[in-house]
Amino acid sequence: MSETVLDVGDLEAGYEPGVPIVRGASITVNKGEIVVVLGPNGAGKSSLIKAIAGLVPISRGKVLLDGKDITAAPAHTMVRLGLAFVPQTENVFPRMSVEDNLKVACGILERRQSPARIEEMYAAFPDLLRQRRTPAGNLSGGQRQMLAIARALIVHPKVLVLDEPSAGLSPKFVSMVFEMLSAIRKSGVTILLVEQNAKAALAIGDRAYVLVEGKERHEGVASTLWDDPVVAELYLGQRPLHRDSARRTETGGAA
């Protein structure tokens, strides 16, 4: 049995108290895996991983990283603990050069290590080397995503967590990003990602969860999930509605 890196148990989280968006989700990520979280719009996918990264207040449940409880850790300590997060949008500092974007993330490395580490990133992402003096705001969408991922990887995270890395990218870049993630996994980094583009994500993923209404409803091996009729149903909503759960605060009008 492979070793669990990230263990999320019964997580409830949301921006406003009493209005949870994530409603008791549990997922695990094993060492070396790519795990994909899928689900229809508004299912709480982004909120789930943002809560894991310390960006959405958690009202219940636990997040364990390598067995260590990181549930209440402030966002800026997450990279130190080994969890690196790549947001969907605004994921680079637009008025800083590519190189400064990388350097700023080196804060937790030893000073002597960082130049070498930055060179390693350039080796992995040659496009960035060519643009090292360009302000990140001038990069194309795909290059920005690349930079954001490089920025997250630079500190040797145990888990790389990505929020819809393909969103808003043209098809060419979408396939490039997924190839990149595949390569990153081969280098030994564990990956958890939320993705709208299910087909492409399942192609590189090991396992996947389908999140509906803030809770995981289906779990499976990525390669077979695509043909699973349950998934299409969960997506398009032609399903018996499970509307009894959790939303006690919504009863205002009905009572």
Partner: protein, 302 residues
Amino acid sequence: MSLQFIIDGLLTGSMIGLGAIGVTLTYSILRFSNFAHGDFMAWGTYATLAVVGTISAMFGKVAPITPFSFGWPLIVALVVGVGLTALLALLLDKVLFSRLRKQEQAIIVVMGSFGASMALRSLLEFIFTSRPTYFSRAIQIAMPVGFGIRITPDQIALLLLTAVLVLGVHLLTTRTQTGRSMQAMSQNPALARIAGIDVASVVRVTWVIGAALACVAGVMIGVLVQIRPLMGFDMLLPMFAAAILGGIGSIPGAVLGGLIIGLAEAGAVQLIGAEWRAAVSFIILMAVLIVRPIGLFGVRER
């Protein structure tokens, strides 16, 4: 018109510019206009003055370093004063600003700084009275440097000091990890946290740099003009105007804005009289707000 106004303008501009760096940093990183910044200037100056007084009480009268009007006590006192001003800023942040920031209404923080400004200024008046004082009453001979321009050794020293400080702060903010963290915070605080930047320490550095430069600017005013409790408050409008003219968040912009306003003020003094000096900043401020609110080097806020 005599070209002397260039020297006067550069000197005034240096004082405004050094102050404006603090204003622009507070605005871009802590996201509020600090009306108490001028009072950091005044407090720094009086702190320096007090240390000078202590030194002369301990060591007796110390001869000035020729050709300047001041001796080593002022240099030592300035260093101590810078430290004390930084402490004051950090203390004020701890008891007031950090708590007001939690209320998540930028304008409440501005109001708090306004109250703090009044209290700080009046406290100075209480301790030192509103009578002006001086670091030194020695009269310096200004040396002619051609084109009808004259300059004193003190003035040369202070212009050089400004240049060194601006260069230092510029290098600090562009070439060091601390500086990059500050830039990152001003561009995207949420992403900065994700990238592992400790917000609290960036906030501290911001206060320390702003307060330290304010203290130096204040001591410059003290050496070249005079020391009054209101000295910082009177600099507030020129400093805000310089920060906005240069573009909020830009350190070179703040300095350039300061120099432009300093030169404009000095020019106006020659053309229409010293009494209208303070109106210059206002006119420049309004012009910038109407024509190009993002300033010279500013970036549109999203």
